[in-house]
């Protein structure tokens, strides 16, 4: 779960990281009310998960109530423009009104989980305010890393080493080890997968302030902090995740795609291989779906309905490797599911293996479905039917 900037800054504040004075507002009126109390110029920032807010004109300056209102209205009037990863764009539901910093320098720091090293890694660069991928491409020598031994945790020498290695401006050096201590506290306390301050601003007066906040929490650790369930309500819904949850499958187990071949398999690896098999047969999938263990009638029906009602599937290719489960039971479950469903009917191609698989295939054929023996054969048949 990725947090919005204002939510990330709330966690930063709790752990003692300096952030700009600010106010979170959900309407233009609330922005106007806040700016009425002061004469200074403030920054009004759209609260979205997508990047590129500045370029999209979603960060603007405003002074006073009238300008505050009109700027807020302008920002909220249109969603964030779509990009490759977010083809639908993102609506703007709230704004962060912040003090304008007199920024002298911008640096970068983050803590992430390094899969290969199996350790947290602290990453620092003296180039802030741009994508770290861009920094890695143009100034790879500026990036300093430290792999943290989790049995030690963070210790201030790590901050000193990083500040010197990354050649941070002198203005940062006194406070930097303590800022990293706080950032590590956020990372560790909330079980984050990523905490990032970009940019970490050094102001003209010599303050070091987190000008932006990016926090990715581990979905598997949310049970430890029930308050985040409320925070989730403020986040844009991922429709695929929502549909998956309603159908009773894991939120990572369902993804929609633009093709015509609906797919379902038991197990994520097999489900990915099923997508690949359809592509190899010259087709395009309508979804990725891991039905999980135990393909009983109710589960199969829910998954069938999930796919036919929410994708452009013209055929449903079910790929079940029944290692432990019995093939005849799975087959009866599928037949029963199709008798029960009130959703539109599309042809089913079913690849079924496991104990009693011949009996399973006989049951499916009797019910008018297309049982096949191998994944490749099933993919070819499904692609053919989707084009018929």
């Amino acid at each position: 779960m990725n947090l919005m900037e204002y939510q990330g800054k709330e966690l930063f504040k709790r752990s003692g990281i300096a952030v700009p004075r600010g106010h979170h507002a959900t309407t233009p009126q609330a922005v106007a009310d806040f700016l009425e109390q002061t004469a200074e110029e403030w920054v009004v920032k759209a609260q979205v998960l997508m990047g590129g807010r500045g370029k999209a004109g979603k960060i603007k300056m405003a002074a006073g109530a009238a300008q505050g209102r009109s700027v807020a209205e302008e920002i909220m009037a249109t969603p964030m423009p779509p990009n490759r990863q977010n083809p639908a764009g993102e609506p703007i539901k709230s704004l962060l009104v912040e003090e304008k910093l007199a920024i002298a320098k911008e640096a970068y720091c983050a803590i992430a989980i390094d899969r290969a090293a199996r350790k947290p890694v602290i990453v620092v660069s003296r180039f802030g305010g741009m994508d770290i991928e861009e920094v890695a491409e143009h100034h790879p020598e500026s990036i300093a890393k430290f792999y943290v031994d989790t049995t030690i945790g963070y210790s201030p020498f790590m901050g000193r080493v990083l500040a010197f290695d990354a050649q941070l401006d002198h203005g940062y050096r006194r406070e930097f080890p303590a800022i990293l201590a706080s950032l590590y506290d956020v990372f560790f306390r909330y079980g984050a997968k990523l905490v990032e301050i970009n940019p970490l601003a050094l102001t003209a007066e010599g303050r070091v302030v987190a000008s932006d906040a990016k926090v990715e929490l581990d979905d598997d650790a949310l049970f430890r902090n029930p308050e985040f369930n409320e925070w989730r309500m403020a986040l844009p819904l991922d429709e695929d995740e929502l549909l998956a949850a309603r159908a009773g499958v894991g939120i990572r187990n369902f993804r929609r795609f633009p093709g015509k071949v609906g797919t379902m398999a038991n197990g994520a690896g097999l489900a990915m291989a099923t997508m690949d098999a359809v592509a190899n047969a010259g087709g395009q999938v309508a979804d990725f779906l891991d039905v999980g263990g135990g393909a009983n009638a109710e589960r199969v029906r829910n998954c069938y309905e999930l796919v036919v009602n929410n994708t452009g599937a013209k055929v449903f290719f079910v790929n079940i490797f029944g290692g432990i489960t019995r093939g005849d039971e799975v087959a009866r479950g599928i037949v029963q599911a199709m008798e029960q469903t009130a959703s539109r009917k599309i042809p089913l191609v079913i690849r079924l293996t496991g104990t009693n698989e011949e009996e399973g295939r006989r049951i499916l054929a009797q019910a008018g479905m297309t049982p096949v023996e191998t994944m490749d054969e099933g993919a070819r048949e499904a692609v053919r039917l989707s084009e018929a």
Binding site: Q85, I113, R115, A116, R118, K119, P120, E133, D149, T150, T151, F188, G191, K193, D218, D220, A221, F223, R224, G250, R252, N253, R255, F257, A265, N266, G267, A268, G269, L270, A271, M272, A273, M275, D276, A277, A279, N280, V285, F288, D290, F321, G323, I324, T353, G354, T355, T374, M375, D376
Partner: protein, 292 residues
């Protein structure tokens, strides 16, 4: 021989009286695994339907039975604790089946339990066919032989094993290393063991998108075992970037974890990459024939 597990390995089950634990205990027992007992706090002194003793703590189980291996079936919030308890009691190999373990828990456990091999979490376990099974794999599809197999997923492993067995290619040891971003035992650590195993004559690597385990495996093969026949497969070639597909670890982010990078790494190491699982047995057989 085989790696990590043989017919003499003494195995306990943590969470042996739970629904999952008792079901799979029965299957492991019937497969012939040398199960010596299990642990459920508060149920010490009881016997399972197979006649296995239940203990309150892992220490008590190890003292009474001399167990070296454990199979963990506990809910996600308690998985790290179960692994620490196994480590404390001197267990040398722990298979953690549990799915949904917080990634920080795994990080801490992996960093603090040097000397104990952890397989998983979020994995189907391991099997040395004809000898022992520790995990949830369907034993009957495996066949004893000389192909070592490592994989990040469950049912895809079964698919490949089924194809291998039907083609007459038995297996020495098959390991599902797990689908999480942080796992206890990587492909490279498995390869290092296979390299020294006289039973293993060929290896199948079933990778998927995300992470760099496959690239590191390819590099290891090129450097340390260029003569060994190895065949690879990469699942999720048609996945879009930025979205996890099922496994928390199966995600392409930026330039990292792409199928192209993994395929290129294997090809550079002289390892053929099958376009589909059904091509794997023939590729393995070809390579074995060339070698002998």
């Amino acid at each position: 021989m085989s790696i990590f597990l043989d017919k003499n390995s003494k195995v306990i089950v943590q969470g042996i009286t739970g629904a999952e634990g008792s079901y799979h205990t029965d299957r492991m027992f019937k497969y012939g695994t040398n199960l010596v007992g299990g642990v459920t706090p508060g149920k010490g002194g009881q016997k399972t339907p197979q006649g296995l003793p239940v203990f309150d703590t892992v220490r008590a189980a190890v003292e009474a039975t001399g167990a070296t291996h454990t199979c963990i079936f506990v809910p996600p919030p308690f998985a790290a604790d179960a692994l620490y308890e196994a480590y404390d009691a001197g267990i040398t190999l722990a298979v953690c089946i549990t799915e949904g373990v917080p990634v920080h828990d795994t990080l801490k456990v992996v960093g603090a339990t040097a000397g104990m091999r952890i397989i998983g979490p979020n994995c189907p376990g391991l099997i040395s066919p004809g000898k022992a099974l520790v995990g949830i794999m369907p034993g009957h599809i495996f066949k004893e032989g000389s192909v070592g197999l490592i994989s990040r997923s469950g049912t895809l492993t079964y698919e490949v094993v089924h194809l291998l067995s039907r083609a007459g290619l038995g297996q020495s040891t098959c390991i599902g290393v797990g689908g999480d971003p942080i796992i206890g035992t990587t492909f490279v650590e498995c390869l290092r063991e296979f390299k020294n195993d006289p039973q293993t004559k060929a290896i199948v690597v079933c990778g998927e998108i995300g992470g760099s385990d496959e690239e590191e495996a390819a590099r290891f093969i090129a450097e340390h075992m260029p003569e060994t026949p190895v065949v690879a497969f990469i699942g999720g070639r048609n996945a879009p970037p930025g979205k996890s597909l099922g496994h928390a670890g199966a995600i392409i982010s930026g330039k990292f974890g792409t199928p192209q990078s993994k395929i290129a790494a294997f090809e550079a190491a002289g390892v053929p990459v099958a376009d589909r699982p059904s091509e794997i047995p023939a590729l393995v057989a070809e390579r074995l024939a060339v070698r002998t």
